[in-house]
């Protein structure tokens, strides 16, 4: 059983890591096609990508949309969780359902609905419309994470603060938020990641200013190139760096 287990583990890890290894390895390819045999290493494709104005603009756009839309989604989700966890409201099941609903719908459908409405209203596709879409997909995520994290012991602390004369905003920002810090951070970074990596909403709802996944998509149309590997590897590296920092700071602390 042991040997079989390890063999399976090894085989499936090869499958899981194969595309990532190939992606990163051939970003160092010297010739123009990212296929074997490997003839690198060289960093010239990274230089190409970093010097690409459109690519860097798209990267900045993505970052902007992700950071802001995730912040709005976090605020909306946090307030909603705060409201729904404290008292039983008439219709709370329905409200929870409405808030969670976008999670079960394909992004393509959300994008199409927004595109239709924005077209009718005469809104031009832009980073703003994309941001609105990203808030829609991230509110359920933030709400679900925070709603699950709110427990009785927090409700008691809030009640105590209120009895001692804290205002509503003081309760929310000085009592609830600090108690939920790990969940808030986790929700925020997940939301940032989802927005950062989201393609179809950004594809349909942007036109001239595009986000990084859309820019990479248009790069794919000109065929295989180690430059695509390079930008892909860079994005991966940044994500991993954030993940490690989170793991070492937020989650380690929250466990102890």
């Amino acid at each position: 059983m042991r040997i079989l287990s390890w063999a399976y583990l090894a085989a499936i890890f090869v499958f899981i890591f194969l595309p990532v290894v190939v992606l990163v390895l051939f970003s160092f390819q010297d010739s123009r096609l990212p296929i074997p045999p490997f003839d690198g290493p060289t960093l010239k494709w990274y230089a190409t990508v970093l010097a690409d104005r459109n690519m860097m603009e798209a990267l900045a756009n993505s970052l902007l949309v992700a950071l802001i839309s995730a912040a709005i989604a976090l605020l909306l989700g946090f307030f909603a969780a705060q409201g729904l966890s404290r008292v039983k409201l008439p219709g709370s099941v329905l409200m929870r359902g409405v808030l969670i609903a976008p999670m079960t719908v394909s992004y393509l459908i959300i994008a199409l609905g927004l595109l239709t409405v924005f077209n009718n209203l005469g809104f031009r596709p832009s980073l703003w419309t994309t941001g609105i879409g990203h808030v829609v997909i991230n509110v359920p995520l933030c709400f679900a994470i925070l709603f699950a994290a709110m427990g009785d012991h927090q409700k008691n602390a809030e009640r105590a603060a209120r009895d001692l004369g804290a205002s509503e905003l003081q309760v929310v920002f000085l009592v609830s938020a600090p108690m939920l810090k790990p969940a808030l951070l986790a929700a925020y970074f997940l939301a940032v990641t989802f927005s950062w990596d989201e393609f179809i909403i950004a594809f349909l709802l942007t036109r001239f200013d595009v986000t990084l996944p859309v820019e990479i998509w248009s790069m794919l149309r000109s065929g295989l190139s180690p430059a695509t590997n390079a930008i892909g590897s860079l994005v991966f590296l940044v994500s991993i760096a954030i993940l490690i920092i989170l793991e070492l700071t937020v989650f380690r602390k929250s466990k102890s």
Binding site: F13, P19, V22, P36, L99, P102, I109, V117, A144, L243
Partner: protein, 284 residues
């Protein structure tokens, strides 16, 4: 006004902004889309006719109906293969890997999640291409004489999808497995069950919530995805999202795209109904 009234009013105030946002940018657009699916495109004009012509067309015109069949087939195949691959992986990590390395193992198992989705499909295109690593390796060790075509076929789409959903299902099944008390396995062993029988008759059924949650997510994400079939599967057989994008792009036929989306939505609802009794989303 009683304190309870005040509390309720405040609580309602907290929920309202999120509700307004979701209504304005999700429910209303969705309703508009449903109405639009009952309209027609004539020339460049959209004419509201409130009939089901688009739906009739979807089910009678082979090129459109095939999209539904293709999407369902691919999604079901991917879901089944992913479960079969992910369950042993989750079980090995939860029971065979020493406790202190489990967190590391599970993080490694989902590491490629952190590559961009578009880039991941592109990477599979590299791996599976005619001159890609897999073909070269298979020819190198003498299994194949010449490269076979995988890219731009259904197989490539399925491999790309399975890669993503194995990671997802491993997470949901693993978090289900580690919540199980070891007493179940112990009790089964005490009562004389063999290791294999314990696994099959005790542990496996107890992980149904994790399996079904993962399976539902797989279904939703897989059937609605445009990127993977477009990059890996090519244009030989189109899935529903590809058809929707085609309607939008080629002719700006929003009514037909809407009707296809509504059907996509219905399929997801069916999948939800089929798995609902096991779904415990908040626990995973």
């Amino acid at each position: 006004m009683t304190i309870e009234h005040q509390e309720r009013r405040r609580a309602f105030g907290f929920v309202t902004p999120a509700l307004i946002w979701t209504c304005a940018f999700f429910l209303v657009p969705f309703a508009v889309m449903v109405l639009l699916s009952l309209a027609h495109l004539e020339g460049r004009e959209i004419i509201q006719t409130y009939d089901l012509d688009n739906y009739v067309k979807i089910f009678t015109e082979p090129s459109l109906f095939k999209g539904i069949v293709v999407s369902l087939e691919i999604t079901l195949i991917v879901t089944v293969i992913s479960i079969l691959l992910a369950w042993p992986l989750a079980w090995i990590i939860a029971t065979q890997v020493p406790q202190r390395y489990q967190r590391l193992a599970i993080m490694l198992a989902v590491l490629p999640f952190w590559t961009s989705y578009v880039v991941r499909s592109y990477a599979w295109a590299l791996v599976l291409g005619q001159n890609g690593v897999v073909m070269q390796a298979l020819i190198g060790i003498g299994i194949l004489d010449e490269p076979i075509q995988i890219m731009a076929t259904r197989a490539a789409t399925i491999i790309g999808f399975v890669h993503f959903f194995v990671m997802l299902l491993t997470l949901t099944i693993y978090s289900n497995l580690i919540q199980l008390s070891p007493n179940y396995a112990r009790a089964a062993a005490d009562l004389g069950a063999s290791g294999w029988n314990t696994l099959r008759l005790v542990i496996l059924p107890l992980t149904l919530p994790g399996i079904m949650t993962g399976a539902f997510l797989t279904f939703v994400l897989c059937i609605g995805d445009y990127i993977t079939p477009q990059i890996l599967g090519g244009n030989n057989e189109l899935t529903m999202p590809q058809l929707i994008m085609l309607q939008l792009g080629r002719r700006g036929d929003f009514p037909m795209a809407s009707a296809l989306s509504v059907i996509l939505m219905m399929l997801v609802t069916l999948a939800y109904a089929a798995t609902a009794r096991w779904l415990k989303m908040e626990r995973v």
